[in-house]
């Protein structure tokens, strides 16, 4: 059974219907129509019950399936602070980097504090590399391009998932310090390094490539697949994804329910669905019309908030929901006619 046929009437319809009924109940009571008011209250209570049970299935029962482990409290290891480092240049500033490193042996986040010389152009990755080369070569992190293109250096900086190479140190100082931690929305490996196998599995789930029916043309191309600006506009912003995993880390649903496919994969599902060259058509919608697909998205929009490329995965998921609903209506009309 399609999830849209379950989630729509049990969560989305009551989400609109119950407030309207409660409003109507209030108006009828204030206007003196007690009996009508009681009926409206009864209807809204039934709506609330359906909403509650469905939400319980969505949020609590579904989430219990996830593995639950707790990180034990952090211990602080002081590796030298700002006071220990001499200031060589007038324009330079010594900043304390509080690095929460995941120790796989103790399974703890251990905070190390390093004093790092920075200038107004320094980004967090510069600081971490300085720590690695000058203070502590054991510090592990993932990075590559250093210019916000590869998406490797995703980490949590001052509590917000960000790319270290795109986060200026001076502009993000909080009480003269920078706090860095690994992305807890991904499985942890060591220090600031997280495992992306699970992330890429989610990405693969949505078949992130163009489907073509003309197989001969596909392998022996003779023509171009031209697109108009309108056709391009439909999917262009979603194709900017660099797979940095920040959206997955920021998503509160992914953090509480491992079953949810997540914003990155879903935005890519829409990206290929909206591409006029793709011939998979409605099957892409059916593929994500699941509770662990689009319907588990609660529209917190944190994914879009942290996306460094302006992909706006939350928008893509809402577009997918809209397309699924439209598609259902069209199918029903066709089956009636």
């Amino acid at each position: 059974m399609k999830e849209s046929w379950v989630s729509l009437p049990t969560i989305y319809v009551p989400m609109v219907g119950v407030p309207i009924l409660l409003f109507a109940y209030t108006v009828s009571i204030v206007a003196g129509f007690q009996s009508i008011g009681r009926i409206l209250l009864a209807l809204s209570m039934v709506g609330l019950f359906v909403f509650g049970v469905s939400g319980f299935r969505d949020v609590y029962i579904n989430h219990w399936n996830g593995k639950r482990t707790r990180l034990r409290p952090a211990v602080t290891i002081n590796k030298g602070s700002a006071a220990d480092v001499t200031l060589p240049r007038a324009e330079a500033k010594i900043v304390n980097f509080h690095v929460n490193r995941f120790n796989p042996e103790t399974q703890r986040l251990e905070e190390s504090v390093y004093g790092v010389e920075t200038d107004s152009f320094s980004n967090v990755l510069d600081g971490l590399l300085k720590i690695k080369t000058e203070s502590d070569p054991t510090l592990s992190m993932r990075y590559s391009c250093r210019m916000g293109i590869c998406g490797s250096c995703g980490m949590v900086i001052n509590g917000k998932p960000s790319l270290a190479c795109e986060t200026n140190v001076w502009k993000n100082l909080r009480e003269d310090k920078i706090t860095v931690a690994p992305m807890l929305g991904h499985p942890l490996l060591r220090d600031l390094v997280t495992d992306f196998d699970d992330f890429f599995e989610r990405h693969l789930f949505v078949n992130p490539y163009l489907f073509r029916n003309d197989l001969v043309e596909k392998y022996h191309p003779t023509v171009q697949y031209n697109q108009t600006k309108e056709e391009l506009d439909k999917f262009l912003p979603f194709s900017d994804c660099i797979m940095c995993g920040l959206c997955l880390d920021a998503c509160p649903v992914v953090n509480t329910n491992q079953e949810f496919i997540g914003p990155q994969a879903l935005s890519q599902a829409y990206r290929y669905y909206a591409d006029s060259r793709d011939e998979a058509g409605k099957t892409r919608l059916d593929h994500v019309d699941l509770l662990k697909g689009v319907w588990d998205c609660e529209f917190a929009a944190s994914c879009s908030d942290v996306c460094p490329k302006g992909v706006d995965p939350a928008f893509a998921i809402q577009l997918l929901k809209t397309e699924i609903i439209k598609n259902d209506f069209i199918k029903r009309k066709e089956s009636k006619s």
């Binding site: 019950f49 509650g52 309108e230 912003p237 509160p252 928008f315």
Partner: protein, 137 residues
């Protein structure tokens, strides 16, 4: 080949706390939704009890106030989603500026999408006031 050992902290509802450091609105929306689910189910059963016990029907009114408050962030988020889709991601969206600025949309009507969630939520909050004054007191 060495096997990877990973440690996974995902899965617990306590992870919602992470939202507090960068997106408080999202935290309120998510936390209220989780409480609303429980309160909704309880409200229904208290309403049923109201057929037999007078105290239960009085309690329902207080639960309705709670439900009403818990619904406010849900309504706002729902309307934001509709506005976002209607305005092609310009309002309440986070699309790349270079793309959003070149997008073909009627920019004269965008303010409707911008204001609609606030106005509708305002009406809903007004309803709560009406309920407290007209029904509860």
């Amino acid at each position: 080949m060495e096997n990877k050992t990973t440690y996974d902290v995902r899965g617990g509802q306590r992870n919602l706390k992470r939202q507090l450091s960068f997106n408080r609105e999202s935290f309120i929306h998510m936390a209220f939704y989780r409480v609303l689910i429980i309160v909704s189910i309880i409200s229904f059963f208290v309403f049923l009890l109201g057929f037999w016990f007078a105290w239960a029907s009085r309690l329902v009114d207080y639960l309705v106030v709670l439900v009403w408050i818990l619904f406010i962030p849900q309504i706002f988020a729902f309307l934001k989603g509709i506005s976002m889709v209607g305005s092609k991601g310009i309002e309440f969206g986070h699309l790349n500026e270079s793309y959003a600025s070149a997008l073909k949309v009627d920019r004269n009507i965008l303010f409707i999408y911008r204001l609609a969630p606030y106005i509708t939520t305002g009406i809903f909050v007004f309803g709560l006031g009406l309920f407290i004054l007209g029904v509860l007191l």
